[in-house]
């Protein structure tokens, strides 16, 4: 229920901002500018839509294949560098938005994954998720830019994980709740 409401909140907020922005464009630049902006939105949608559908199918299928238990084992407390590299790769390959990635962190943490690996995973997912790069970055900003940014992003997840292991802040995963937003991928 909570995540359902949250999804609709996103849509409502975006609609409100879109309407406000459209109104502001109309007031400051006239109705022609509104049409102009809408005309520019269309090719963006066409550029992104086919890849997005493929990306969502990839996400849905991956969930059926990869058990989070195996990941957590590789990212365990004593996992050292290997745990960081596994986390970095898992982040790269995790498709989908925050509604999938954050609950997965919770599942991995409860299964005993190391803190540095978890931080590495979530940073690597946010920065370097391949699905997002292929769906959005390459079509809109070009392959050269996407590769440049990926090169800059790849080491950062590992670095963040190394820093996180040294921070003197305690964290234990919140205990399970029945009404939690966690919608963990099915094993």
């Amino acid at each position: 229920m909570a995540s359902f409401a949250r999804r609709h909140a996103t849509l409502l907020v975006l609609s409100a901002v879109a309407l406000a922005a459209a109104l502001a464009v109309r007031i400051t630049q006239g109705p022609a500018a509104v049409d102009d902006a809408l005309g520019k939105a269309w090719p963006l949608l066409v550029a992104v839509l086919p890849a997005m559908l493929a990306g969502l199918l990839l996400a849905g299928s991956l969930k059926q294949i990869i058990p989070p238990g195996a990941l957590a084992q590789w990212m365990g407390a004593e996992s050292g560098w290997r745990g960081l590299f596994v986390a970095c790769g898992a982040g790269l390959l995790t498709p989908g938005g925050p509604m999938a990635a954050f609950p997965l962190v919770l599942v991995l943490a409860r299964a005993g994954a190391d803190r540095g690996a978890l931080i590495c995973y979530i940073v690597s997912w946010g920065l370097n998720g391949l699905q997002r790069i292929l769906v959005w970055e390459v079509p809109l900003l070009g392959a050269d830019f996407a590769i440049l940014r990926l090169l800059c992003g790849l080491p950062l997840g590992i670095l963040a994980g190394l820093i996180a292991r040294r921070l003197p802040i305690d964290w234990t995963p919140p205990p399970g709740t029945t009404d939690g937003p966690a919608r963990a991928p099915k094993p």
């Binding site: 922005a21 939105a41 849905g60 294949i65 962190v105 959005w136 079509p139 940014r149």
Partner: protein, 173 residues
């Protein structure tokens, strides 16, 4: 269809095939149902978000982007981009069209690398809507400290790598 899109389609169909092969018909059905759910959730958001980004970019004075985020702005521009990126709300459907707008208005590649990194690592909206409720404040603090310097690092690295990527910008679509 671009090469990247084709690659993604092949990957998706291949992964779906593996799911079918390993889990049989039930796994295939679960994968398709999950995909359908995602489409139902994401499509309405996209249909609103892309025009929204387009309207917003209409409101950004081009000169502002060129002055503050241009290739000549150097590390100051990287810092400005970090601050801007941290406050861009929403998913890639908002951030990437906005970045495209900034680029067309004359922003530099290292600055845009910093901006996307800041959006991805520091994004305030994501911390508030997902990280705090699911993982708690301490996790968010650990992650923000660990990742705080990343946008600036990424911007500096991109600046250093620029000679090897002469075609990273401009993007003309």
């Amino acid at each position: 269809m671009t090469g990247g899109q084709l690659l993604l389609l092949v990957l998706a169909l291949g992964t779906f095939g593996v799911a079918l092969w390993r889990g049989g018909e039930p796994a295939g059905k679960r994968a398709l149902r999950d995909t359908g759910d995602s489409i139902a959730r994401v499509l309405p958001i996209m249909l609103v978000a892309i025009p929204m980004a387009s309207f917003l970019s209409q409101l950004i004075p081009p000169q502002l982007a060129a002055d503050w985020l241009g290739p000549e702005s150097g590390m100051t521009g990287v810092l400005v981009a970090t601050a801007v990126g941290g406050f861009i709300p929403g998913g890639p459907f908002v951030s990437f069209p906005l970045v495209l707008t900034f680029i067309k208005a004359g922003a530099g590649a290292p600055q845009m690398v910093a901006l996307i990194t800041a959006w991805a690592v520091l994004g305030v909206h994501r911390v508030l809507t997902w990280e705090l409720p699911i993982l708690g404040a301490r996790f968010a603090v650990i992650r923000l400290i660990s990742g705080g310097a990343m946008p600036i690092l990424a911007g500096a690295m991109a600046q250093a790598l620029m000679p090897f990527f002469p075609h990273a910008l401009p993007v003309m679509r």
